[in-house]
Amino acid sequence: MDNVLEVKDLATYFFMHDYIIRAVDGVDFTLGRGETLGIVGESGCGKSITSMSMMRLVPDPPGRIISGEISLKGRDILKISDDEMRKVRGNEISMIFQEPMTSLNPVFTIGFQISEVLRLHRDIGKQDAITEAARLLRMVGMSDPEERVNEYPFQLSGGLRQRAMIAIAMACEPTVMIADEPTTALDVTIQAQILRLMRQLKETKDTSIAFITHDLAVIASFTDRVMVMYAGVAVETSTVHEIFKNPLHPYTQGLLGSVPVLGDRKVNADGSRKLLNAIPGSLPDARRFPRGCRFAPRCPKAMKKCWEAEPATVEVAPGHQVRCFLHHDEVRVISKRDLGAAGKRVLKNQQKNSGKKKSSADGSKTDTPTARN
C-alpha cells in the first residue's frame, strides 16, 4: 500500500495571552491509499486540531502550526501558498464535520452548496453543476434528489444533512477525506446508515479516510488502523485487531476497559456487582503537561522513570508503535521548536504575571482538580 498522506512531527500550538496550549505536540502517522485510519481519544486530546491542521484551517491567531510536514501525494501542503491550498482543499483533501446543522450554510440551498465546490475546482457551468449535485445526492442515498437540491438545510433531518455534507465532501472525489466525529450528533440507527454509506463510498471510490471519533465501537467496526491520542501526542498506533486484542499502552487498556460491552455479565462470581475498569483522575491541563510521560499521573503502572522523562514512540512489533517505558527504554528527543514572535510575547506576559502573583502559582503541583476544558 503506497502512502497518500504522511504526517511528520506535526505540532500545533495556541498562543493565548499569557500561556501556550500545546494542543498537538508532535504527531506522526501515515495513511495508505484506500485505507481508513481511526484517530481516537477523549475531548481535548488534540484529535480535532490534528484534522484542522491537515486542512490548514487552524484559526491564526491564536493557533499556529509551528512545526511538521504534511505531505499529500509527495507534496508538503504546509509549504504551499494560501492560493494553492485553496485548490487542494475540497479537491484533493476534504472534510466532514461533526455538527451538520452548524457546518452547512443556512441561507443557501443544498444544491448550491454542493455545486459551489464543483464550480470552484472544475470547469463546469452553473446548470450542469446543479445536475451533478443531484447525481451526488442520489449517490449518498437521498430520495428524489432533483427536488432536494432546492431545499435548505433546515428542511432536512440530521441524517439527511450529514448525507448532504458527505455529498459535498465527495463532490470532487478527493484522495483523502477527513471525517471529524461524523456520527456523534446522530442517533444509533441513523449512525448505522451513515457508516454503511461511507463504507460503500470508500470501496467504490478508493478514498482514504481519517476517521476521528471518541467512540471505540465505531472505530472497531469501521477502521483498518487506529491511532490513540492522549494529551496532544499519539500514544499507540496499530492495526485495529492488534489494538483491541493486544493493547500495549496503559491508556489504551484503560479506555477499552471503560466501555461496557453489550451483553456482558454484570455480576461477579461472588454475587457482588461488577464495576467497570475506569481510569482514575481526569485529563491533564493542556497549559502545563506533566514533565515526564503525560499519562503518568493517571497510570496504574507508572514507574519512577515515567515521572522523569518522556518516552519516545517506538515500533515494538511490525506496524505496532507505542509510547511507553513498559515496552522499551527510549527517551523522546524533542526537536527544538521555534515559537516565533507570538511565543516571545506570551513568555513576556507570563513573566510579568508570575512576578505579580508568585505565591498563587504553586498550588498546581498536587492533585488539585482544576482541569478545565
Binding site: 475531548s43 442517533d187 467496526s221 483491541f244 461496557p260 460491552v261
Partner: protein, 385 residues
Amino acid sequence: MSSKTETLIDIRGLKKTFPVKASVFSSKSIPLKAVDGVNVQIKKGETLGLVGESGCGKTTVGRCVLRLYEPDRGRVWLDPDPAVVAEVEQFDLEYEQLQSQLDDVIASGRVRGAGQKTRELRNQIRKNRNIARRKAMQQDILSMGRDQMHKMRRNVQMVFQDPWASLNPQMVVSDIIGEGPHTYGTHKGARLNKWVMELLDKVGLPRNAANRYPHEFSGGQRQRIGIARALALTPKLIVCDEPVSALDVSVQAQIVNLLISLQDDFELAYLFIAHDLSVVQYISDRVAVMYLGKIVELGTGEQLYNNPRHPYTISLLGSIPVADPEIKTQERILEGDVPSPVNPPKGCTFHPRCPNRIESCSQIIPLLEKSRDGHVIACHNPPNG
C-alpha cells in the same frame, strides 16, 4: 437484594402533549404527543433503564415523574397501597365513561334536553374528579397539593444531563449539597457540615471541594457534585437523565461505577434514562425501550440483549457497533428517520420502518402484552415466533 419485590413507583397511563405552532406564521397550535400512554413500575432498590432515540419521550417521562412537566393524564403512584390504587382506578374508569357520554351528547348537537343532560354529566364528572383526587392525593404524585409535593420531593431526586448547566455558579459546593437538608431541616449546624463532608467522601470528591465554586471542577467532578446533591436527602428514587452522555469515556466509567456502588449503600432505586444502550444495559435490572412516546418492549437486560422480540429493539441492537473488530454486526439497518411526533403514523407508530409489518399494523395500535418468555412487547407480528 430481597427488597426488590415491593413497588416503589407505579406509572399508569402517563400522557403528555406539548403545543407546537402549526407553522411559523400561524397562531394555531397543534399537539405534539411526547408521551402517549406509558405504564411501568419501578421496584424498591431496582434500576429501570429507559432507552430510545432522541425525541422518543424518555426525558419527558423522567420529568413528569417529578412534575417538572405537568402531565395531561395518568397517575404516578409513590409507595402505593394496592387498595387505594384499585379504588381510584374504578373512579378513573367511571370518568372515562362519563366523558365519552358527554362527548356523545355534545356531538349529537342541539336536540331537546341536551343542555340539561350536559349540565348533569358535567356535574357528575366534577364530583368524580374531586373524589378521585382526594383519594389519590396521599400517594399519587400527580394529584398532590403543595404540602404533599414538598414532602414527596425528599424521596424523589434528579441528576441532570449537563453538569455545566445544572449547578448554580454563584453557590459554593457545600451550599449546593446542603441546600436540601437545610430546607427540610434534616441536618442543622455542625451536623449539616458533617453530613456534607460525608457525602463528598461518598461520591469521591476531596473534602476541600466544599468551599469552592462549580467552575473550578471538571465535568466528571461536577457530575459527582450533582449526585451528592441528589443524595443529600436520602431519597428512595433518583431519576438520572442522561447522567453520563456529556462525559468522556474514561470519566463516564467512573460515574457509572459510582452510581452502582451508591445504590447498595443507600438502597436507591434509579430511573436511568439514556440513549446509549450498552451503558443502560450494564447498569439496569430491567430495560424499557421507547419509540415515539410509547414503550415497545420491556424486559431484563439479559432478555433484551440475548432475545430481543420487538422489531425495533432488534434493529436498535443491530445498529450498535460492537467494540470488537472480530465481530461484524449483522446488518439489520433501519431505513428512514423517526417520524414526527406531531403527526405520528396510524396504528403501530413503528410500522413504516418495520421489516416485519403485516396488514393490521397500520390500523390497530398494539398493546403491551406479556409474551411466553416473560418479555413484555407491543407488536402484532414479532419475528421468530
